[in-house]
Structures are given as C-alpha cells and as structure tokens.
C-alpha cells in the first residue's frame, strides 16, 4: 500500500496522540509558516497545489483564501465538520484518527488569512469528537502550539469547537454561520459571500475538514509534490466514502481520477450475493443516479470526468445500488430525507420536497398512475433554479435522473396499480 496522506493513522499507530503526531513531523509546517513565511506565501503554496474544496463544490481553496477582505477585521476560519450528507463518513474518521493534522490545517488556514480565532462547527451527534478535540486543543495550548504569541512572534491563535444540533442544512456554509451566531440554520442570500461577509459579518473562510487536513503536508512537502498526485485539474488524494451494496464498505483514500470500477471492485470487494451493480450515486443522496454500465464504471472519479456520465463528484460519497433494488424505492429514501431537511425558507423547496415525497410514497406503494410519475418529474423541474441554496437542487437530482434513466422501474410500479378511476376515488377519499 502506498503512503496515505489523510488517513495516515491507519499506518501510524496512535497518531491521535500529540507526541506521536510530532514525532512524525506534526506542527513543523505550522511552525515553519509562522516563523519563516508571510501569510500570503502560505496561500500561494496552497493555490499552486491545486487543492480544491472537499466539501462538495470543489472550489479552489487557495483562491478562496485570496478573496478575504483585508479592509474589514477581524477574520475568522470556520471548519465545516457538519458531515450530514447521507453516505458521507470521512470527516469523522479524520477527526477520530488523525485529529492533529486536521487542527494543524485549521491553524495554517488561520495564519494564511490572519485570523486569530477559528471555530470547528461539528454536527451535534459528534459531541464525543468535540469533547476530544477540546482536550486536544488544550494539549496544543500547553505545548505552546496554540495560544498567545506563538513561537515568540506576534501571532496568536485560539481554536474553539461549536456543536450543531441535528440539521443537515447547517452544512451549507451560510446556514452554518447563522447557526453559529445562535440563530435558525437558514441560508443567507448571496452575494456577499463569507470571505467578505461571514461570521458576525466579518471576513470568514469556511472549509471542509478533509480540505484542511491536506494543508500541513502541502506546506511541508510543497505544491509540486501535491500536484504530482491525481489528475491535472483534480490534484491530490481524496477520501471516497463507499457505502451501499458492496462487500467492503468504508473510506478509501485514493488519488482523484481513480475509476469507479477500481473503487467498487478492487477496493470495495464487488457486489454481494452475485448481484450486478445497477446504479451509482457519487455525491451521496444529493447525487443524480448514474447508470452503472461499462462506460460509467471506467470513468475516473474527478471533478471533470464525472459530469461526462451526467453527475457530479461532490463529496465523493459513493453509494452503490445493485439490481435487486428498484429506483422508486431509492427516490423514496432521498425524498424523505430532503423533505425532512428543507429549512423551509423558500416555498419551492419547502412545498416541492413535501409534494414529491407524497407522490413517491404513492408510486412506491403501487397506488399511482403513470401521470403521477410525470407529475413528480414536473414538480422537480419547477423547483429547479428557484431556490435560495443548493439543497433544493440536490433534492431533484435523483428524481429527474432516476425517472429518465430508469423508466422501466417506474413503469413496473405503475402497472402494479389497479384501474386508474379507482385510484382517483381512493385519493379523493384520502
């Protein structure tokens, strides 16, 4: 096995102990940055590395850091540890196994944008991890690696944890900031974006846990080294969270550009019970459904290639669906999720996800006609482009792609239903 970069704890026992982390070069990058580099040089190195955000949108990280408004102070870094996308469980493993590399990444981001305070926003269910991080932050303070006047310079940094309380929408960066401010977790109208108007209205960088965990090694080993991993435009390693109908689900750290086939069949051990892979979701429940034919299986998992098979890489949460599963059931699951998680701020998303859920329930129970499937598709298309945040768009990805690409599954459900007139009478009664 080649050397892991993000999941190093799998190769280095006790890496979640500060002394072990330091024996393996831990906090050398941060010390080097604070004592020998100016903040812009840190940002430049990250920019040159080609690192792109791992939270879903794939936005270039260094570029984001350059957007920070230097007329308005103080600045903040907020690490997004909300990890609530169905099928995503990588940030949790990083924070449990390799927490100091993550915290060093937070520290480097803070130094790069000259922030003296950083927060880690964790989903409420991660309270044990938050507790651990609190202790680890105290250890770092005791060791002089966080706190006031670090390494005898004028730079000071504090990191705090903050727990959410069960709301998927708080993973969206502006909803997350609202939530941190003690308000309802509802997205803000944008622009302005967080680098100009973020936490408490101050310039803020929000980055995903995995994104930040890349940064220490980029600073120690350099942008050229990082660039040599992955593809030209999608550089570096990526953690693929593999779930669903595979023999060996789990996190796999592989270079961006690894094919679906390699992930599912070599690393994931293939499909159980001699079944065939039928569909793939690449970005968790927010994903469109990819038909798992040879072309798709041979597609490299990077930001540029996945769109060739009609989907996005997103958070790289690969959900495998085999041929025993009917796609209407998949939609039922995703729509129950999204209607539950819509924050309710805008009508198309709030009402649309509610109605789509009801229609798919009827379809799934064999109580619908083909016109209901068409109606479902129409409702989805009406939501498109009318929402304040991307949740509304995520909610319809599986719906429109599923109906279009797996039509026979829906036809089969509809033909299970009895006479259409009877159905109408039924639904009037209901």
């Amino acid at each position: 096995m080649s050397d892991l970069i993000l999941l190093r704890h799998r190769q280095i026992p006790d890496l979640n102990q500060l002394d072990v982390y330091r024996q393996h070069g831990g906090f050398e990058a941060f010390q080097k940055a604070v004592t020998t580099m100016n903040p812009y040089a840190v940002t430049d190195e990250v920019k040159d590395s080609g690192l792109r955000g791992r939270g879903g949108a794939g936005f270039p990280t260094g570029l984001k850091w350059t957007f920070i408004d230097t007329e308005n102070w103080p600045h903040y870094v907020v690490a997004n540890a909300d990890e609530s996308e169905p099928g995503t469980f990588k940030d949790r493993e990083i924070m449990e196994g390799n927490p100091f590399q993550f915290l060093e990444g937070v520290a480097l981001a803070a130094y790069a944008i000259e922030a003296a305070e950083a927060y880690v926003y964790l989903r409420g269910e991660f309270w044990q991890i938050a507790d651990q991080l609190d202790r680890q932050i105290s250890e770092l303070e005791a060791a002089g690696l966080l706190g006031d006047k670090l390494f005898d310079t004028d730079y000071s940094l504090r990191i705090y944890t903050h727990l959410g309380a069960g709301a998927y929408i708080c993973g969206e960066e502006t909803a997350l900031l609202e939530s941190m401010e003690g308000k309802l977790g509802q997205p803000r109208l944008r622009p302005p974006f967080p680098p100009s108007y973020g936490l408490y209205g101050k310039p803020t960088v929000v980055n995903n846990v995995e994104t930040l965990t890349n940064v220490p090694l980029i600073i120690t080993r350099g942008a050229d080294w990082y660039n040599s991993i992955g593809t030209e435009k999608s550089t570096g390693p990526k953690i693929f969270s593999l779930s669903g109908r595979v023999n060996k689900p789990g996190n796999y750290e592989l270079p961006l550009g690894t094919t679906f086939r390699e992930l599912i069949f070599e690393h994931g051990g293939g499909i159980p019970d001699g079944r065939q892979v039928k569909a793939i979701m690449a970005a968790g429940a927010s994903s469109s459904l990819i038909i798992a034919n040879d072309e798709a299986l041979d597609t490299p998992m990077d930001y540029e290639s996945v769109p060739n098979v009609g989907a996005q890489l997103g958070s790289a949460s690969i959900i495998v669906i085999d041929d025993s599963v009917s796609i209407d059931w998949v939609l039922r699951k995703t729509l129950h999720f999204f209607s539950h998680e819509s924050c309710g701020k805008c009508t198309p998303c709030r009402e649309g996800t509610f109605w789509m859920k009801h229609i798919i329930d009827r379809v799934h129970q064999g109580e619908a006609a083909w016109s209901d499937v068409e109606l479902l598709n129409e409702v989805a298309l009406q939501i498109k482009g009318k929402c304040l945040c991307a949740l509304g768009e995520f909610a319809i990805e599986a719906v429109t792609s599923g109906i279009q690409r797996f039509e026979p599954d829906f036809r089969a459900k509809v033909s299970e239903s009895s006479d259409e007139d009877e159905l109408l009478v039924e639904s009037e009664k209901a």
Partner: protein, 166 residues
C-alpha cells in the same frame, strides 16, 4: 437554576465567543439544560434568554428548529436507528422493524414502562457500519455500530439496568 448549578461551565461557554456576540452560546446552553432531564423546560428557556439578552421566544424557536433539542420528556433512553438510504441498503429497515417488534413499540413510540423510545433518524455518518443506532441520554450520545437485533436488545437491556440504578 442553571446559573447556580453550572456557573463555571456557563462562563467557559461564554468565553468562546466575542463579548458582543453572546447569542452564539444559545445552543451550548441548551445542551447544558438538556443534560438533566433530557429536555428543555420553559424555565430553562427563560433563563437562557436572560443570560444572553434574547427573548424566551427566540430560544424556543431554536429548540423547535433543531432536531436534537426537545421541549417534552420522552423515554429516558432514546434509541435512534438510522434507516437513511445507505443504511437501508444494508438492511436497516428490517433491523428497525424487528427491533420494534421485540420491544413492543411502534417507530416513534415509547415502551410501556416509559424507559425506551425508538426513533428512525437520518444519516449519522456511520453508513459503512449499518445497521447502527445512536443512544441519546443525559450523558450524551453514543454510537452502536454493526448491530444485529440481538446485540441491540442486549445493549438496550444494559442501558435499562443502568438507568434503573441511577
């Protein structure tokens, strides 16, 4: 009163945020309030509002928005089974159904002795270890992964005993 009981903790929580942004402490304080009885009382909400300089209606709206806050008592032990898509692909729906059958409850319901509530919840970032559930109690949240119905029933029995002793 929270302020007397948890004075040091409240001070630590407030110290995390800028002095003019106290409102940020509302969720940490709600967790503190919930530690005792598993839910937030009207008095707690008023007190938290008082500490932060916001109305108790503001506090109540936060409790209503976030699913991990409760304004009513339920079973002492909350078993929350994830049956979201990835877990369901690994048998979580059947697991939940059988678990409920064994405990004699419906999904969302509480056992007759009032000790255990079973709920279905959305993804908990443990999809590769399904079937799984989390247990919410006054002490916090614990994950139970790679479960079978019998291992889950054992775990629940152990929790019941512990709760009975407390």
């Amino acid at each position: 009163m929270l302020a007397e009981k948890y004075a040091a903790e409240i001070e630590n929580i407030l110290a995390k945020y800028p002095p003019d942004q106290k409102r940020s402490a509302v969720m940490p304080l709600l967790y503190l309030a919930q530690r005792e009885d598993g839910y937030v009382t009207k008095e707690d909400m008023a007190e938290i509002g008082g500490i932060l300089g916001i109305t108790s209606t503001d506090v109540a709206s936060i409790v209503g928005f976030y699913t991990l806050f409760y304004d009513q008592p339920e079973g002492d032990i909350r078993i929350q089974v994830c049956n979201d898509l990835p877990c369901a692909l690994r048998g979580a729906d059947e697991f939940l159904e059988q678990l409920c059958e064994n405990l004699g409850v419906k999904v969302g319901g509480t056992t007759q002795d009032g000790s255990v509530t079973v709920e279905a919840v959305m993804c908990l970032a443990a999809c590769d270890k399904a079937p799984m559930f989390q247990v919410q109690s006054g002490e916090g949240i614990a994950y139970h992964e790679n479960q079978t119905v019998s291992s889950a029933l054992e775990a629940i029995e152990a929790l019941r005993k512990k709760e009975a002793l407390a």
